[in-house]
Amino acid sequence: MQVAWSGVSVVLGGRTVLDGFDLSVAGGSWLVVIGPNGAGKTSLMRTLAGTVGHTGTVRIGGEDAGGIPGRERARRLAVVPQHPVIPPGIDVFDYALLGRSPHQGLRFSPSERDRRQTLEVLHRLELGGFIGRKVDTLSGGERQRVVVARALVQDTPILVLDEPTSFLDLGHQLEVLELIAELRTERSLTVVSTLHDLTVAGQFADRMAVLDHGRLITHGSPAEVLTPEMIASHWGVHAHTEVDGGSVTVTVRRRQQASAQASSRSIRGQSDQSRSRS
């Protein structure tokens, strides 16, 4: 299912955090939005989720999102928030089952089918052993997988992920993203996500967009977007990029490597002196 923004702006507390954003994402592709802190990435994700006021038009499946009722929107689009709220004491199964909410009646009462689907997704994500565990007792990686599970249980054609790996170590980051990549192919999902790690972003995206100060700077394939010049001008770091087929590997160099080495030498020198004195 296709997603598109045209002229979308968000103003928060008198500050324009998103300024006339225009982009469209074809169904079945993975758009990764990158940009420095405070660029407006989360606000952009919230325009899709319908949880922030905006001007301009957001289209979900070709239809103006403003006219889609909340429940229908939740059947088209699932969100993995950056800081998910975990209700205290809830167990993994009940938490994942919340994903079925938009498919339930006004009483939000889960059916046998809802329970079965939830169970299937949990097993698919190898969370079968965690079902009765309390979510707030899980490790960061496990918890993130449970949150992803809830979004998949929602069974939507579009998945919106706001920094889905921000609290995970490298191994768990790859694990979660590889899982999403797999599921995307399996279910032909449209994925829209933000990722702050450029190297990781370059490996998984098939489309990328750079956002800075609320404006869309550029967009295209990872190879077109992730250039040393782009990284230098918006992140202020020197980077080396290597294009390998569809993915791009970014290696970042320390800004003042030479001076850093010099200063480390001098510190070593001082400690040597102090050792010789004592």
């Binding site: 909340g70 809830i90 339930q104």
Partner: protein, 360 residues
């Protein structure tokens, strides 16, 4: 007979219909049993001793399709049906409403410290009752006691004021704004109430007795007064358990799950406030039930509102009825205010919960 062994990789954990609902069913049975036990003890306790088995037979006799003879004298029967049963039923209803609406308030505000008096119900009811008492409305009206009605109107006015003040044009306020508006309204109403009370010191004792809460009844009048609101409130709360579980992930995520948080919050608060206001109107300010009972339920049976709300209704009913038994018997023939009993049990229990939460 042996069951076939579960194959490898087969989901052995089946939350569908098995252990989960069995556990829930256990707690539900325990809740219903506690209500029945509390009701029997409540009816059997009093200055005139009536053997408990005779009470059970007498109560059972009133059930449809059951015909037993309790061999009670007409006088004992009158004691049971005209004096004790109305009081017990009132206790059950008030306890259920206070605990159920407490559970709903805590769910709506996602705050374990919320209770049914949070938005000014207590202060509003107090003001209404005080005005009715000092103006001697009872003498003016004659045919009915106007104090409950005045308290009910006062309580609903206070909640409505808090709701309106926290709403800006075009949008409803956040839960935090609503709570602050409630606190402000409560203080304002309490200030007026204190002023009126001080100006009319001759009715001080009457006002004070009302504020402490009591379940004294004269026949079935209070029960009839309370029943319609109790039905609306209980039905409303039981319908809202699903949405309250979704709301537990916060407004923003609940929106992305297809819920309309503000609408739900408003509907649940209306149902809960109506029940709590009606309960307060007939029984005065009985504290801690709305706070302690849902907490105890959560600790025992889990945090899902599908359990917390119905079990709070049941255990709240039993708890208040038993507290009333204590209030009647501890210094018999004198009666202690029931609010004293619930606070005496509730406050230490509440501190225990706070300590537990602080350590976890």
């Amino acid at each position: 007979m042996t069951s076939p062994p579960a194959g490898p990789g087969v989901a052995r954990y089946r939350p569908t219909g098995s252990d989960r609902s069995r556990l829930g069913g256990c707690w539900l049975s325990a809740g219903i049993a506690s209500v029945l036990v509390a009701a029997v003890i409540g009816v059997a306790t009093g200055p005139v001793p009536i053997p408990i088995w005779q009470v059970i037979l007498e109560l059972a006799d009133r059930l449809p399709l059951i015909d037993v003879d309790s061999s009670l004298s007409p006088a004992d029967r009158a004691i049971i049906w005209d004096l004790r049963a109305p009081r017990v039923v009132l206790g059950l209803l008030v306890g259920a409403l206070l605990a159920g609406s407490g559970a709903a308030y805590q769910g709506v505000f996602r705050n374990p410290l919320a209770d049914p008096y949070l938005l000014g119900i207590a202060a509003g009811a107090g003001l209404g009752a005080t005005i009715a008492i000092v103006t001697r409305l009872r003498d003016a009206v004659g045919f009915m006691d106007p104090v409950p009605l005045a308290a009910f109107v006062g309580a609903l006015l206070a909640v409505a004021a808090a709701g309106t003040l926290s709403t800006r044009r075009g949008s409803t306020g956040s839960p935090a704004t609503l709570i602050l508006a409630g606190v402000a309204v409560a203080n304002f109403f309490t200030a007026i109430q204190t002023f009126i009370q001080q100006q009319n010191s001759e009715t001080l004792q009457q006002v004070f007795a009302w504020i402490l809460g009591r379940l004294s009844t004269a026949g079935w009048g209070e029960v009839r007064l309370l029943a319609p609101y109790a039905v609306i409130c209980v039905v409303g709360l039981l319908l809202s358990v699903g949405p309250l579980d979704v709301l537990a992930v916060g407004d923003e995520e609940a929106t992305t799950l297809g819920l309309r948080p503000r609408t739900i919050r408003r509907l649940v608060l209306m149902a809960a406030s109506l029940g709590a206001a009606a309960a307060v109107a007939v029984s005065g300010l009985i504290g801690f039930v709305g706070l302690v009972v849902p907490h105890a339920v959560r600790m025992l049976a889990g945090t899902s509102h599908r359990r917390v709300v119905p079990l709070s209704l049941l255990f709240g009913a039993a708890f208040l009825t038993l507290a009333d038994v204590l209030a009647r018997t501890v210094r018999s023939p004198a009666e202690l205010p029931i609010g004293v009993i619930t606070a005496f049990i509730g406050a230490p229990f509440f501190l225990l919960i706070l300590r537990r939460q602080a350590t976890s």
